[in-house]
Structures are given as structure tokens and as C-alpha cells.
Symmetry: C2
Subunit: 207 residues, 2 copies
């Protein structure tokens, strides 16, 4: 079992190393990766060692090799097809966000209960009724769903996603349900980021 905190560090490492590549670097050390993100070099080396060996003693890690390995580990060698459920204020910001496409996630279908939206497109993505989720998910090979509906309909919307057989789920309202084997549900909560900031403002010498 790989703890979620390890996976999230791998994501951070990948972003750091991609930025280093953009600035023309060819090698990067665990010290550099750690310093930029507030981790320890030992933590970086330990995380990498779980997945194979990429470093050369004294020279650091080859940036191209490391990006390829991390992308493979994070499942980013292929593109993922994503459904967006709920096209409100947040849904619209997510549908327009270029970062998803840059990192291999393509929103290919939107689902909303609002009759004014069904049958139209947003950012060139077709909008369907949630009743068609199972049918469209199969046809478009959708494997991930992002749920951005009001809190009081989030559980019902997530259950609908599970019933449609979409195994990866991200919800912007806390949902706690029992999932079948092989399904993963991530509850995204931006207050956790706010609490990180309030922690360090309260304890500035622990930064």
C-alpha cells in the first residue's frame, strides 16, 4: 500500500523537475528537489527508492529519465478521459482550466441537471443530462469524474458516477460512501490549504 502523502509528494516532485527542465537543467539532486518544496533530501531519496533507482552517485538524477519514470508511476503515460458533473461557477472554472490538459487530463463530457444547459456546449465540450452518464462514459471511455455540484446533491451525484462504472472520482463537497473495490474517491477541500497558511502565520519560526 502506498500512502496518499507519498503519491502527492511524487506529484510535487514531477512539477519541480519539469520546471527545472524548462530552465535548461539536465541533472537535479535530491537536495535541490527537497529545498524547493520544504521536504528533506532523505525523504526524496526514500520516495524514489520505492519505485526503482534513477540516480547516479554524485551527479544527481537525470531529469529526462526521472520525468519519464515519474509520469509512468503516476499513470501519466496515457491521456485520461474525464467527465465533469455540475457546470456551475466552479465547474466553469474547471472546464476552462488549461492545467488539466497540460498534464494529460481531458474533460470530454459535462453533465448537469439544468435543462437550459443540456444539449449545448461549454468550451466546446458537450453537456448531457446526468441520466446519460453510464451510456456516455462507456462510449467515450471515461475513467475519471470531477463532481462540482451543490453540497446537498453531491452524494447522489457521486453514487451516479459509481453506478456508471467510473472508477476515479474527485468531489468538491465532502462525500463519505462505501466504494466498490478498485474505486478511488478524493474529497478536495481548499480549506486545508487555508489551514496550512494559518498554521505558518501562527508559528512563523516553524516555516
Amino acid at each position: 500500500v502506498t500512502p496518499i502523502s507519498t503519491v502527492q509528494r511524487l506529484s510535487v516532485y514531477l512539477r519541480t523537475i519539469k520546471r527545472a527542465k524548462e530552465s535548461g537543467k539536465k541533472f537535479i539532486s535530491s537536495e535541490e528537489i527537497a529545498a524547493i518544496n520544504g521536504y528533506t533530501p532523505a525523504q526524496v531519496r526514500k520516495d524514489f527508492s520505492c519505485f526503482g533507482s534513477f540516480g547516479i552517485k554524485g551527479k544527481g538524477y537525470n531529469i529526462d529519465k526521472l520525468i519519464k519514470a515519474l509520469e509512468e508511476i503516476l499513470g501519466l503515460s496515457e491521456r485520461w478521459r474525464v467527465a465533469l458533473v455540475g457546470l456551475g461557477r466552479l465547474g466553469k472554472a474547471l472546464a476552462k482550466y488549461k492545467g488539466f490538459h497540460l498534464s494529460k487530463f481531458d474533460i470530454v463530457a459535462i453533465f448537469d441537471i439544468d435543462p437550459e444547459k443540456i444539449g449545448t456546449k461549454y468550451n466546446n465540450i458537450p453537456i448531457y443530462s446526468p441520466k446519460k452518464l453510464a451510456q456516455i462514459a462507456k462510449r467515450k471511455k471515461i475513467e475519471i469524474a470531477v463532481v462540482a455540484v451543490p453540497a446537498n446533491s453531491a452524494e447522489e451525484a457521486v453514487m451516479n458516477v459509481v453506478k456508471a462504472g467510473i472508477r476515479g472520482i474527485i468531489s468538491f463537497s465532502e462525500v463519505r460512501i462505501n466504494l466498490p473495490e478498485g474505486f478511488i474517491l478524493r474529497n478536495v477541500n481548499l480549506t486545508a490549504e487555508m489551514e496550512t497558511v494559518s498554521f505558518y502565520l501562527t508559528h512563523p519560526d516553524w516555516m
Copy 2:
């Protein structure tokens, strides 16, 4: 120095324990806290031990005492006054989000360059020109800013926040600048959540 990953786990523990309180529990064990969130009981105990001792051998942690202690550690004993910079699709979703208020963060002012928005209100929050950020931040004792402007103006908007003396910053577009002592900048990137999902879909037996 407290690593960011420790702080983010504390946030997750707090949410877990608050939910247990809502369901009427009085005590909770490190095993229960760990199991719900995919951590180990040893990790939970280690995290708590950094900040004091709250547990009673054999009975687990007193939920009311633990909530109070975690809120104090995370700096949530007081309410924080927050500025929102950028009132676009994402900004509107953040301004309406009830979760911030529930966990002690109040958006008290909005700043946007769009002349049609300046001088009006959104969700009963006044909208100002970004030129007034320093003046309004001082008057309303704002200590945290959430920046949701287009990627190409994010660095300029964050610099403006720093100049206004607002020490806690959350940006939805990656910004890398040198910060004065005592300032904290968190770059929020929802693709990290997507990558967590793609990791576990690629390695289902590591869940």
C-alpha cells in the same frame, strides 16, 4: 521546522475528528483516525506527540480536547480576515463557498481590475480596485489573500499582495517569487488531486 505534509495531515485529522463528534462519539483512537484517511496509527501518534500529549492509554483521545488542541495548533482559535483577488469564474465559486466561513476564514474584501465590478458587491462583499489593496488590507486587518486571476497576471497580483503586507497567500496559478521573512505562499494545483487518482487507477493493488 514543521514540514508541510505534517500540517496537511493535522488538517485532515481535524476534519475526521469533527465528523466523529457530529456522530456523537466522545473518544477516538489513533487506529480509527488512521484507518479513515489511509495513514498508519504510528504516524498519527507521532504527529500528535510533536505538539503535546492528548491521549489516555487504552481509551484513545478525548474528542473535545483534541479538537481544541488541533484548532489552536492550526491557528484556528481566532477568525482570519481574507482578501479575494480576482472575481472570475473561480473567484465567484470561492466567494460563495460556505466551507471557508465554517472553518474560521471570512472573505471581507474582493479586488478586481474590471471597472464594471469595482464599486459593486458580490455575495454582499465589497469589490475594490487592486490599487487600494494596501489601504483596505490595513483598515480591515486582512492577513490572508487568495489569488484567482489569469495565469499571466498572477505574479503581478501576488507581488501586489506582498507589497500590501498580507503575509499568507494562496495562488491558483503557479507563482515563484522570493518572499520576505514571515510570508507564506501556497500554490494550489488541482492537477495534483487528479494525479493521485491516476496513480491509484494505474496501481489498484497499492490502494
